[in-house]
Amino acid sequence: MKRISISPPVAALLLAVILFLLSGFLPNGFGSDLAVAQSQATNILRLAVFLGVIAAGQTLVIISGSEGIDLSSGSVVTLTAILTYVIVKGQDEKVLLALLVSLAVGGLIGLLNGAGITFLKISPFVMTLGMSGVVTGAILIINHGNVSGKVAPVMARLIARPLSTSIPIPNAIIIWLIFGVLMWLLLERTTFGKNLFALGVNRVTARLSGVNVTGMNLATYALAGALAGFGGFLLVGNTGVVFINLGQPFLFPSIAAVAVGGTLLSGGKGSYWGSMAGAIVLTLITSLLTTMQMPDSVRRMVLGATLLILISIYGRQQALRQ
């Protein structure tokens, strides 16, 4: 008996397409109206961009193995979103500065995570969890309940608006595609990527084969922090407002997106394409449940059950008996 094998990213994407097509049959679905269907699809994709970008850093640390995970990404997103909001103050010329600050602050927090994990041997789960608390505390101090600021018009144009009037694809999706290609290059075509997978498979063999494990670990967490910082920058460009709880709701979905995309949570195997597909599936399910006007309780249960079914299909680990 030959098992049909289908790669997780493709499976997740197929699932997204099927779910979307089925959603057309809902009472308030798009039915046979293609224009509505198209606008709904682009809207869901646009929403998936932010989860997708935040999941990028998560993908890196999870691939690096040794229980790698980044629980601080949600609060980093909030922090850099607030920083961007405050720095830009509606001026186009400050946008680049805000982007650099977002990347630097995110990177620095990530580096601290990496240092704690590498040098002090704190497990990634609790190190980044503790860091998340510290960053949330810092946000409260900076924020003091309210901040004054404004996003720049150029950010809204670059992120939220469509490419041009004839091509109704929001820029955010195009940014994401370019971002996806860059992530693919990073993972598959650079020494960093090769070393990262080596780290995830087995740290000892990686070290013996000449990989600088300490440096790689620091770099991975710093990069993950910077990517979360970038996510915060993009997110505020779309929402246009900031609040204390802006980034936290993205945290666990970002881990779920990585898992749904077929990246092994134990490390060493995975892809960013998978995380992208995972982000689309999760965003789709969430927005479908919202369209169906389910109460919050049912929405949570359906989301949990779907996630459980998805990971039961291809998230299984090797059997003990081999």
Binding site: I122, V126, L140, S297, A305, L307
Partner: protein, 322 residues
């Protein structure tokens, strides 16, 4: 000579550091709250800590067995909402005990669901319990969409004001947990637990019933979560579907502060219990120290990160000198 002696001691008793932390936080607490050891003050502290202590004990078993349980807060919420809606403020004691029994069964069932997916379907613990946490939290919200309901005041008083022999009720419960743990760790099951957490494949090859042991840890955690849910309901006297949510990550932090390794197989239950009490003291210290509200989260999180980092820092300095 002396240094190696210290090292050996620390390796043998991972909870030693937790004990030191507990003593330090206790001393600071006594300075800030001079009547700390008065019967009523002690009781009012301990009854607030007890729900987290119960939850942490279950989490410690799961982590010892090499897993993690993110759904514990959801189970606490289910129990809380069931008791608050089904017993009611004017319910009879018989009804209360009947639903306490049902709550325990619900906790066991929820834990068994986690265990089934993780041990028998071999899914990754973190993402599985994340998915079920949505199921459980959603169910709690379904049972009680808005905070309300409650349990009879005289039953709540039983938990809040019981001080047999002038000692808080919590002391007896902690003693019972530790006695049970001492018994369990001396049995064959205890040895199996450490073996599975240490290295599941090796345990499997030496005929340890790995699947059954993994399954059992989640059932125990479910039971402890239900007990924690009962305790917190009797403490607050009312129902709120989000009551368990912040308790999950707290329990994991407590286990790690208690000296258990996140990868499993190292530690015990007494250390994590001390960790849970320490976290409670830290919360107390932050609220008693008259820190500005905006700074509270930051200070608390920083203390926790420092506590997590301290063993690593000590090791770092020791290995430098050696």
């Amino acid at each position: 000579m002396r240094r190696s002696h210290l090292n050996a001691l620390a390796a043998r008793h991972p909870a030693l550091f937790a004990l030191a932390l507990l003593v330090i936080s206790l001393l600071i607490n006594v300075i800030l709250q001079p009547n700390m050891f008065a019967r009523d003050t002690l009781n009012s502290n301990m009854r607030v800590f007890l729900p987290s202590i119960l939850l942490t004990a279950g989490q410690a078993i799961v982590i010892l067995g090499g897993g993690i349980d993110i759904s514990v807060g959801g189970i606490v919420s289910i129990v809380n909402t069931v008791l608050a809606t089904r017993v009611g403020l004017d319910g009879s004691p018989e009804k209360m005990w009947q639903f306490v029994f049902i709550s325990l069964a619900a906790g066991l069932l929820a834990g068994a669901i986690n265990g089934f997916f993780i041990a028998y379907l071999r899914l990754q613990p973190i993402i599985t319990t994340y998915a079920t946490s949505f199921l459980y939290a959603g169910l709690a919200l379904f049972i009680l969409p808005n905070p309300g309901g409650g349990i009879p005041a005289q039953i709540a008083a039983l938990y809040r004001d019981s001080t047999p022999l002038n000692l808080p009720l919590a002391f007896y419960i902690i003693a019972i947990i530790i006695l049970i743990w001492l018994y369990i760790s001396s049995t064959r099951y205890g040895k199996f637990l450490f073996a599975v957490g240490g290295r599941a494949e090796a345990a499997y090859e030496t005929a340890v019933p790995v699947t059954l042991v993994q399954f059992s840890t989640y059932v125990i955690s479910g039971l402890m979560s239900a007990l924690a849910g009962i305790a917190i309901t009797m403490l607050s006297g009312s129902g709120n579907a989000d009551i368990g949510n912040p308790m999950t990550l707290n329990s994991i932090t407590a286990v790690v502060i208690g000296g258990n390794a996140m990868s499993g197989g190292i530690g015990g239950v007494a250390g994590p219990l001390m960790g849970a009490i320490t976290l409670g003291f830290i919360q107390n210290i932050v609220s008693f120290a008259h820190i500005s509200t905006w700074w509270e989260t930051f200070v608390k999180a920083t203390i926790i990160v420092v506590a997590l980092a301290a063993p690593g820092v000590i090791n770092l300095f020791r290995s430098r000198r050696a």
